[in-house]
C-alpha cells in the first residue's frame, strides 16, 4: 500500500504505507477502533481509498473489482452464511466462478479434508462450535487459492483450547507460500506468528519491524503497552558522575543506559527483566537493586506474575521453577533487580 488515505465517517486511515513481501507473515497490531478492519476491507476492495495506491505483485489494483483481486479475507466472526450447509459455504466461491459440479465436489472434499471438517459437510452451520465455524470460513476462503490471506482477529472468537491448532494451520499455510496479513489486538499472537509486525494507532502505522525489535525497543509508550509491558513510571532524569539516573515519584532511583535525555520522561521495564532474589542471598551494593515486599501473586502463562512494592509497584514475571526455589508468599521480603540496560526511556514528543 502506498500512501493510502481513507476517511470513514469521523475516522480516517491516513498515510498508510505498508509493504508485505510475497510469502511473509505480517501481523498488524492495533486496538479496537484503530482502523484494522477498515484497512483489511480496503485491501480486499470493499471500499476504495480516497487517495493512494494498492499494489499486489507490482500491479495496481486500487480500482480493480473485488472479484478480480484474488484476496481472501476472513472476518472476525467468520461470516459463515447461516442459510447454507457447510459444503454450501465452502463451495460458494466456486459456484460464483461457475466451476463444474464435478470440480466443485472434488475441491470441497479436498479442502474439507485438509481442515478436518469433512464429517461436517452436510450440516447446517447454526450449531457448529466457534472452532468449526472458523475452519469452515478458512476452507471457504482458501478454496480459490488466494495469493494474499487477510485475517481479521482470527483468534478473538475461538476458545483458548483451539488457538494452538489455529496457529499451527496459519503457520502451515504460510510455509506453503501463502502471504498472510493478520490483524489483532494481542501482541502474543504477533510474537508467535509474525515474521514482521506493524503497530496501527489512530489510523496510522506508527512502528514496523521484526517482532523482537518492536517489542524489545518500542518507540513509544503506546507500543510498549501493546508489547505487554506493565511497569511504567513517570520519572525525572539526571546525569551524575557520567551515568544517568531516573527518579520516580516515590523516590526510587533507577540507573538507565547512557544516552542524551531531557529532564522528564516515562520509564518502562519489561516484567521478564525483573529478577527476584532471596533476601538472604545478596547485599544491596549493586545498581538497580531494591528491597521489596511481595503484594500479590498470580499464575501466568509462563509461570507466576508477582506484584512487588519497592516504593513503586513493580510487576515481575518468573518461571514456576524460580517461584518454587524462592519460596515466596504474600508479604515476603525480597530483593528485586534488573540490569541497567533493561529500562526503556520515552521522552518528549514520543509520549502519546
Amino acid at each position: 500500500m502506498i500512501d493510502v488515505n481513507k476517511k470513514l465517517g469521523n475516522f480516517a486511515l491516513s498515510g498508510i504505507n505498508l509493504e508485505i513481501p510475497e510469502g511473509e507473515y505480517f501481523v498488524l497490531l492495533g486496538r479496537s477502533g484503530s482502523g484494522k478492519t477498515q484497512l483489511l476491507e480496503l485491501i480486499a476492495g470493499l471500499y476504495a481509498p480516497d487517495s493512494g495506491e494498492i499494489r499486489i505483485a507490482g500491479k495496481d489494483v486500487t480500482r480493480t473489482r473485488i472479484q478480480d483481486r484474488n484476496i481472501g479475507l476472513m472476518f472476525q466472526d467468520f461470516a459463515v452464511f447461516p442459510n447454507m450447509t457447510v459444503s454450501g459455504n465452502i463451495s460458494f466461491p466456486l459456484r460464483c466462478r461457475k466451476y463444474s459440479h464435478a470440480d466443485i465436489s472434488r475441491m470441497v472434499a479436498e479442502a474439507a479434508e485438509k481442515l478436518n471438517i469433512d464429517h461436517l459437510l452436510d450440516r447446517l452451520t447454526n450449531n457448529l462450535s466457534s472452532g468449526e465455524l472458523q475452519r469452515v470460513a478458512l476452507a471457504r476462503t482458501l478454496i480459490t487459492s488466494p495469493r494474499l490471506l487477510l485475517l481479521d482477529e482470527p483468534m478473538a472468537s475461538v476458545d483458548a483450547s483451539l488457538k494452538d491448532d489455529i496457529r499451527r494451520i496459519f503457520r502451515q499455510l504460510n510455509r506453503e507460500g501463502l502471504t498472510i496479513l493478520h490483524v489483532t489486538h494481542d501482541y502474543r499472537e504477533a510474537i508467535s506468528l509474525a515474521a514482521r509486525v506493524g503497530v496501527l494507532h489512530n489510523g496510522r502505522i506508527i512502528q514496523e519491524g521484526k517482532p523482537g525489535e518492536v517489542f524489545r525497543r518500542p518507540e513509544n509508550e503506546f507500543i510498549a503497552r501493546y508489547a505487554g509491558i506493565r511497569n511504567f513510571f513517570r520519572v525525572k532524569l539526571y546525569a551524575e558522575d557520567g551515568s544517568w539516573n531516573a527518579v520516580t515519584g516515590n523516590k526510587m532511583v533507577i540507573s538507565i543506559p547512557p544516552d542524551e535525555y531531557p529532564v522528564e520522561g516515562l520509564l518502562a521495564i519489561r516484567s521478564e527483566e525483573v529478577k527476584i532474589l532471596n533476601i538472604l542471598s545478596a547485599g544491596n551494593s549493586q545498581k538497580n537493586m531494591f528491597r521489596a515486599v511481595v503484594r500479590e501473586i498470580y499464575p501466568s502463562e509462563t509461570g507466576m506474575e508477582i506484584i512487588l512494592d519497592a516504593g513503586e509497584m513493580i510487576h515481575a514475571d518468573i518461571t514456576m521453577n524460580e517461584f518454587t526455589e524462592l519460596n515466596i508468599k504474600e508479604l515476603s521480603e525480597v530483593w528485586i533487580t534488573f540490569s541497567s540496560e533493561a529500562p526503556i526511556v520515552f521522552s518528549g514528543k514520543e509520549l502519546i
Binding site: 470493499l46 461470516a79 480459490t144
Partner: protein, 269 residues
C-alpha cells in the same frame, strides 16, 4: 414479577377491555347469523365471485408490486442517498391518507385523462371498473406494509455476510439472491401477507375506481345500503372466515427456520 399487585390487576383489566373490544363485535356478528343464511350466502354465485375476485386481485397486485418493492426495500436498508428521509416519508404516505382521497388520486392517474390511463388506452387497456384498476387501488394503499417489513428484514441481515460474499467473488446480484434475500425471507413473506391482507380488505380506494366488478368489501357495503344490516351480515361473516383462513395458511408457509435468530452473532469492532 410481583403477582396480585394493583398494577398487574390494572394491566389485566385494561388489556382485557381492548381484546374484548375487538372480539365482541365479531362474536356478536357470528352469533346473530343463522347457519341457514350462511349456507345460502356461501352458495350465492355473486358472493363466490366477489370473494374470489378479491383474493386473486389482491394476491396478483401484491405479487407484481413485490417485484419492485423488495429491491426498493433493499436499497432503503443498505444505501445512503440524499433525501432518503423524504423517500421513506413518501412510502409511508398512503398509510396516513384518507383512503377515498387515495382512490381519487389513483383514479386521476389511471382515468383516460390521466398519465397511465392515456398510455394504457393507446394499447387498448382500461382500468376503470376492471380488475387491473382494482389491483392498482389495492396496491396503492397496501404497499407500505410490504416495503417496510422487507426493509427491516434486509436491515437485520449482517452487512458482514454480504461483504464476505463479495470478497469470495460473488457479484452484487448473486449476493442479493443467495445471501440477502434468503436471510430476509421471513420478513419479506410476512410483509407480503400483510400487504395481501390489507389490499384484500380495502374498500375506500377501490370503490372510487370500481363499484363493479364488486370485490367483497364493496359487495358487503352494497348489501348493507340496498337491503340493510341483516343481509350484509352473512356476507361479512363468510368473507371474514375466508380472509382468516387465507391469512392463517399464508402465515404457516414461512414458518421455516429463521436463520438470523438461530445463532448469536459476535459484533465486529
Amino acid at each position: 414479577m410481583i403477582k396480585n399487585s394493583p398494577f398487574n390487576w390494572i394491566l389485566l383489566i385494561l388489556s382485557s377491555l381492548v381484546l374484548l373490544f375487538i372480539l365482541a363485535p365479531l362474536t356478536g356478528m357470528f352469533l346473530h347469523t343463522e347457519g341457514s343464511k350462511l349456507l345460502e350466502t356461501v352458495s350465492d354465485k355473486d358472493v363466490q365471485h366477489s370473494i374470489w375476485l378479491t383474493l386473486w386481485v389482491s394476491f396478483t397486485a401484491t405479487f407484481f408490486f413485490a417485484l419492485g418493492a423488495v429491491p426498493l426495500a433493499w436499497v432503503l436498508a443498505r444505501k445512503k442517498f440524499p433525501l432518503k428521509g423524504l423517500v421513506q416519508g413518501i412510502i409511508d404516505l398512503p398509510v396516513v391518507l384518507p383512503h377515498t382521497a387515495a382512490g381519487i388520486a389513483v383514479l386521476g392517474f389511471i382515468s383516460r385523462d390521466g398519465f397511465l390511463g392515456k398510455v394504457a388506452d393507446s394499447v387498448g387497456l382500461t382500468f376503470i371498473n376492471r380488475p387491473a384498476g382494482i389491483a392498482l387501488a389495492m396496491a396503492f394503499v397496501s404497499l407500505p406494509f410490504l416495503i417496510n417489513s422487507a426493509r427491516d428484514g434486509f436491515a437485520a441481515v449482517p452487512e458482514r455476510l454480504e461483504k464476505a460474499a463479495l470478497t469470495l467473488g460473488a457479484s452484487q446480484s448473486r449476493v442479493f439472491f443467495s445471501i440477502s434475500l434468503p436471510l430476509a425471507w421471513r420478513n419479506i413473506t410476512s410483509g407480503f401477507v400483510l400487504m395481501f391482507a390489507r389490499g384484500m380488505s380495502e374498500f375506500g380506494a377501490v370503490v372510487i375506481i370500481a363499484y363493479h366488478p364488486m370485490i367483497a368489501p364493496v359487495m358487503i357495503y352494497d348489501r348493507f345500503t340496498s337491503f340493510g344490516l341483516k343481509y350484509a351480515r352473512p356476507a361479512s361473516v363468510v368473507f371474514i372466515i375466508i380472509a382468516l383462513a387465507v391469512f392463517i395458511i399464508l402465515r404457516l408457509i414461512p414458518a421455516g427456520r429463521n436463520h438470523l435468530n438461530s445463532r448469536p452473532h459476535a459484533e465486529n469492532d
